[in-house]
């Protein structure tokens, strides 16, 4: 479970470099996200464009990450592929997060 990050304007972009966030790596993902969100950025974009599959454990790990970065900061999701989008839609978690179809769209919407 590799996460990389870069800064884009006022946004901290975290990219998931794996094709799956599932039960096998959910804890690893949460730990890696904790490291990636240990900063002062008010908005963190999670780029999921390389992720082809997520299960409920992976979904729970993303929710846990959102909760752990705190109520004053925002976790934005970008680049949901069809299978990932479906899990967020069916569980209505797409109404909880700011969701953008691509990283570019997320960056445009949050351009200062």
């Amino acid at each position: 479970m590799e996460l990389t990050s870069h800064q884009s304007g006022a946004l901290h972009v975290v990219t998931v470099k794996s094709s799956r966030i599932d039960a096998a790596v959910a804890i690893e993902f949460k730990d890696a996200m904790r490291v990636q969100s240990d900063n002062d950025f008010a908005e963190i974009v999670l780029d999921l464009s390389l992720v082809e599959f997520i299960d409920s454990s992976g979904l729970g790990a993303i929710v846990a990450s959102m909760k752990s970065i705190g109520p004053d900061r925002t976790l934005i999701l970008a680049g949901l592929t069809p299978n990932v989008e479906k899990v967020f839609r069916l569980t209505r978690m797409d109404s909880v997060f700011s969701v953008f179809p691509s990283l570019e769209r997320a960056l445009e919407a949050h351009a200062a």
Partner: protein, 144 residues
């Protein structure tokens, strides 16, 4: 269930589940399923098998066998998943209610989605405990 098209046996564990899913997907491609349909099958199977890893064989030192059978039927794909772990509490599957997400951030649920997804995406979900075996059967409506 008709003559099975696929039968996989593996040892409980989240990496075992991953490998089993890869095998199933390899078969589904040969059935001519659309990527969206394969995604649905993979999600339901993942949730069902993750539940076994988590609840039927809750400790690493009591892992056990999981077997997965798939058969093409007139109205979709029929699946049977068996394990020899702990029985389902109450002898039946959870109802799988949708999780309430209209709550404060601190109360946002991090789990409880699995059975909802199974019940939402699969049909004829049935659980039985036969001797020392848990058997979960269901059907997924795809064109095969």
């Amino acid at each position: 269930m008709n003559t099975p098209d696929l039968h996989i046996e593996f040892e409980s564990g989240s990496w075992g589940v991953r490998n089993a899913l890869e095998q199933v997907k390899g078969n589904l491609v040969t059935y001519g399923l659309e990527p969206e349909e394969i995604g649905t099958v993979e999600l339901v199977l993942a949730e069902a098998m993750n539940n076994i890893v988590e609840h039927a064989y809750p400790n690493d030192d009591c892992a056990g066998p999981i077997s997965l059978t798939c058969a093409r039927q007139m109205n979709g794909l029929g699946f049977s998943i068996e394990d020899k772990g702990r029985a389902m509490p109450g002898g039946k599957t959870p109802v799988g209610m949708a999780v309430d997400v209209d709550v404060d951030l601190g109360d946002m649920p991090e789990g409880g989605f699995g059975w909802f997804l199974i019940q939402d995406l699969a049909k004829d979900v049935h659980y039985a405990r036969v001797d020392d075996t848990n058997r979960l059967t269901f059907r997924i409506c795809v064109s095969v």
